[in-house]
Subunit: 557 residues, 2 copies
């Protein structure tokens, strides 16, 4: 029984001086929540949106025809639900689109064997069927290139160490326990140092990658082979080269299932000659501004219609599967949330704006472009060396210049940590917003959403807003098997998503957005970031470093 | 502290009359164990044997060239170690060999997509590349065949319901806890009724399968498509037709990764036309007595050389991967055990006989044949209907006739429950052998092997001996991810085996075999089985029923 402590709280409340802000002062519209809840849980449709995005549209790599289809479908669907101002906004120039139609890798000798392999994005096809011997070669330094010169003609080169397997004694999928949620509310005052990719390191890597590509091309290497960190048939695969026009990789690169890669590796270590046959049908698509866009759609506000509450998720995905948990699930939930709001008959005071981002996987390109255009921007660097870097690695070239929407956006809410249900929200060090979120979460305790943590979280599109001083938030989601199985893998598919989790998330997002839209004030803000904006760099470079670690030989874009 | 109860035991021991047999009376040769242990743990080679069997030789389907290679290699290796009487014993006629060289399944429309699929064993290839539409059709009754008549020309038919996914909240791999081992020692006096496949049911199924094959063939179906119970890229695949000459399946059958199958299924449910392209290069091999054999090899005994201690594991595997945990691991351990015994310099009193069985996956064919030839047999049925049944479903046609080895085999020790280390042994209801095994296990408590359970276990080759009254035993092994990932799947590969587990198992098996070989008496026996021998039927049919359930539409062989 917690009655005694509750009583104590009430007594304290009565004796505190006026002016203290308590969660209990934040109003929640329980009748609205009743309507949203009925539609969300009893007539859910998020899984239908998910089915279209994954099964029907498929992979949605930035710049590709797949993403273009998703852009078209989502706009049409949003218009059908009665959203206004439905349009796309380009963040071109992006670079080349890319897609693959077929890939096969086979061992011909010492025995016939099909090998599970997926091409890295933005690497070329093989121009028909190619045959060659497999060779293990470390090619990670100039010395090693010299050592292998003249020895790799018509070879398929295994560049990675084999994967070391360990028994999977714990579950792939995981939901937060009560204790873990409690722990999540404690700030990490001395967080572990994030591995940072800096501009200099990036440039060195990029220069070596260029040399490596020239070397592989001069040596007439057929393809490079890489090992996936996945097991049991799960293949994690991202990009293998630049999407910039004129900078593309010249040699096909495939990621193999670790079971297949390791077997080749062991046969070669035993000096068994291995002959392989490879075919990759892949194509670069001309730069197409239609597939480097964000989708924007509004539910117009009333008395405060020039103020905006935003919600969003990224529409682009990697290419190894159908990007179900990364991030068709987020898109399906956000689309469902606006559908619920329309169905609820709400006439919001502020304008509710849905944004479906492109280019998230390449460094939050879509959301950064939106922010830069409408919210706040820094001047472009005039240093040519800086200009060769990805935007998220460039040093700030001047102070932040705020634009009209900076003062008008109450908050941006994001969903991109897999497809698990919502357990709470990261308040991003914003102490003033915590009691508001606590109040807004209270009606959803029975659905498992209870926790506001002051912790920050990175690696997705709310960072673009938070880094310029506009409140941007990502919800806490059950991890499920996001990091162990689906994130950037060949099994990021519809089946890995729990329908009930989508419905729960859509309900909570809809309620948060509605309450933000109808609140008297904008949500409280943190102080403006000082220049240089450390947080932007930190979050994005942490991401870039993580990706670089996961894809050891992959060039950063 | 357990001291009081231990003291009590000692006092009881001193007061009991002569003639009671206690574990403490069983001698263990600790100096021999010291030598075995040094070689097993400090100079292990089991993983090398495993590497040859899996990476180099590959799949070893009964009757195939792969099994033939394994037969040849194992004999050569055993001779090299100085084993005597190394030879193979045929259990022909078996039927046709089968292997596949390549399989690919692709979606052409609504979009290009590679689909992970593996042909069922003993189903034909496609004769080049075939294209056709995908159709969902239930074809499990005469009525359904009638309904679909004339509607499946040039179709690839999805016969199964899609797989229902659940989050994997617990680990794939598992080792026994102390509590679980304790529980395992309690007999199940009312075990759950095993689902039994009986002759009648089998014949009905077989008759329908024949009709189905004729139907599919008459309808010019291109291939049947089936769903794997695996997830994350793991595909479980066994046989899809008879290996008997003249009874082969006529239509290619492929098992798809559930992620791929489910997506096709959902697209079809949404009425999206799906066009597929399939190619399976598979071939039936002529009956070859050289690939339907057991390998036998001896370490000859001395003063009791006409008595035999046997150890064994099955050399055959399924075809989806390299049969690492089922059962190259068992073979590698048993081969390592005899290598350890040779290295130890032991001159056993009894002859130690290694048997590497073929045909285990088709119903313990190899070990049954050995037992029938040398140990004990029942007369063949003269009923023609009985003769159409697999041997393990035939009713006994007369009393058991014992043969010379029946009185001479002290015990047969088997290893075939995956690649996990040994935690103890199933005593198969043989109360008299329990104290012996307890004593033999005692020196291995530090390695985790502690438990003798009186429980029976089935589904592998020791059953062939136990069912005719000769002691046959299977060790208790840690399950690891045998049932969840590797058992009859496409990822039953070298990497899934823990080297240290193999070494531990080889040491314990070697010690058990040495102690059985040097003991004054043969191991105590249970009473002879009465006719009809319920246990034979039970264990084998349980297996057959389990396989039938796992491979819903697969015809029993």
């Amino acid at each position: 029984m917690h009655l005694p402590s509750q009583l104590l709280c009430c007594l304290l409340l009565l004796t505190l001086p006026y002016g203290y802000v308590f969660a209990s002062e934040e109003k929640t519209d329980l009748e609205l929540i009743n309507r949203l809840r009925d539609e969300a849980l009893n007539h859910p449709k998020a899984h239908e949106h998910l089915g279209v995005l994954t099964d029907e549209i498929g992979a949605r790599l930035t710049g590709s025809a797949g993403l273009k289809k998703a852009v078209d479908w989502s706009q049409s669907q949003l218009r059908h639900w009665g959203l206004q101002n439905v349009h796309s906004e380009s963040f071109a120039p992006f670079g080349l689109g890319w897609s693959y139609q077929h890939a096969s890798l086979r061992m011909l000798s010492p025995m016939p064997l099909d090998l599970l392999a997926i091409p890295k994005a933005w690497t070329p096809g093989t121009r028909g069927v190619q045959r060659g011997r497999a060779v293990i070669a470390r090619l990670s330094s100039e010395e090693e290139l010299q050592k292998w010169k003249g020895k790799l003609s018509d070879a398929l080169v295994l560049l990675d160490e084999p994967l070391s397997f360990k028994p999977h004694l714990t579950g792939d999928a995981k939901r937060y326990t009560g204790q873990e949620l409690e722990d999540l509310q404690k700030m990490e005052l001395e967080p572990g140092a994030a591995r940072r990719a800096d501009g200099q390191t990036f440039q060195k890597q990029q220069q070596f990658q260029k040399k490596l590509q020239s070397f592989l091309s001069a040596e007439k290497v057929i393809a490079t082979l890489h090992v996936s960190r996945g097991e049991d048939g799960t293949v994690f695969v991202q990009g293998g080269g630049s999407y910039k026009m004129g900078e593309s990789a010249q040699i096909p690169a495939l990621v193999l299932a670790s079971e297949a890669y390791n077997r080749l590796y062991r046969l070669l270590e035993k000096k068994k000659p291995v002959e392989l046959e490879v075919q990759v049908d892949a194509r670069f698509e001309d730069e197409d501004a239609q597939a480097a866009v964000n989708v924007i759609a509004d539910i117009p506000g009333s008395d405060k219609k020039d103020e905006i509450v935003m919600l969003g998720a990224h529409l682009d995905s990697w290419h190894g599967a159908t990007g179900a948990t990364d991030n068709a699930a987020g898109v399906a939930v956000m689309m469902e949330a606006v559908r619920l709001l329309k169905e609820s008959g709400i006439k919001p005071r502020r304008t509710i704006r849905l944004a479906l981002w492109g280019g998230e996987e390449q460094g939050l390109l879509g959301s950064r472009a939106y922010v830069q255009q409408w919210v706040a921007a820094r001047p472009d660097s005039t240093d040519p060396a800086e200009k060769t870097l990805p935007v998220f690695l460039r040093k700030p070239a001047g102070p932040l210049q705020v634009k009209p929407q900076h003062a008008k956006i109450s908050a941006y809410f994001n969903l991109d940590n897999g497809a698990g249900k919502i357990r709470g929200i990261y308040a991003e060090n914003n102490v003033a917003v915590k009691p508001v979120f606590d109040a807004w979460l209270a009606p959803f305790a029975d659905l498992g959403a209870t926790t506001t943590t002051l912790r920050k979280t990175g690696s997705t599109d709310h960072v673009s807003f938070d880094s310029v001083g506009v409140p941007g938030f990502q919800f806490i989601q059950d991890q499920m098997d996001y990091m162990t199985r689906t994130h950037h893998s060949n099994i990021d598919v519809y089946d890995k998503v729990q329908k009930a989790d989508l419905s729960q998330a859509a309900l909570i997002v809809a309620s948060f957005v509605a309450h933000a839209a109808n609140r008297n004030e904008l949500l409280p803000r943190k102080p403006m970031p000082k220049d240089p904006p450390k947080d932007t760099t930190k979050d994005a470079t942490k991401d870039a470093a993580k990706d670089a670690i996961e894809n050891k030989t992959e060039s950063l874009k």
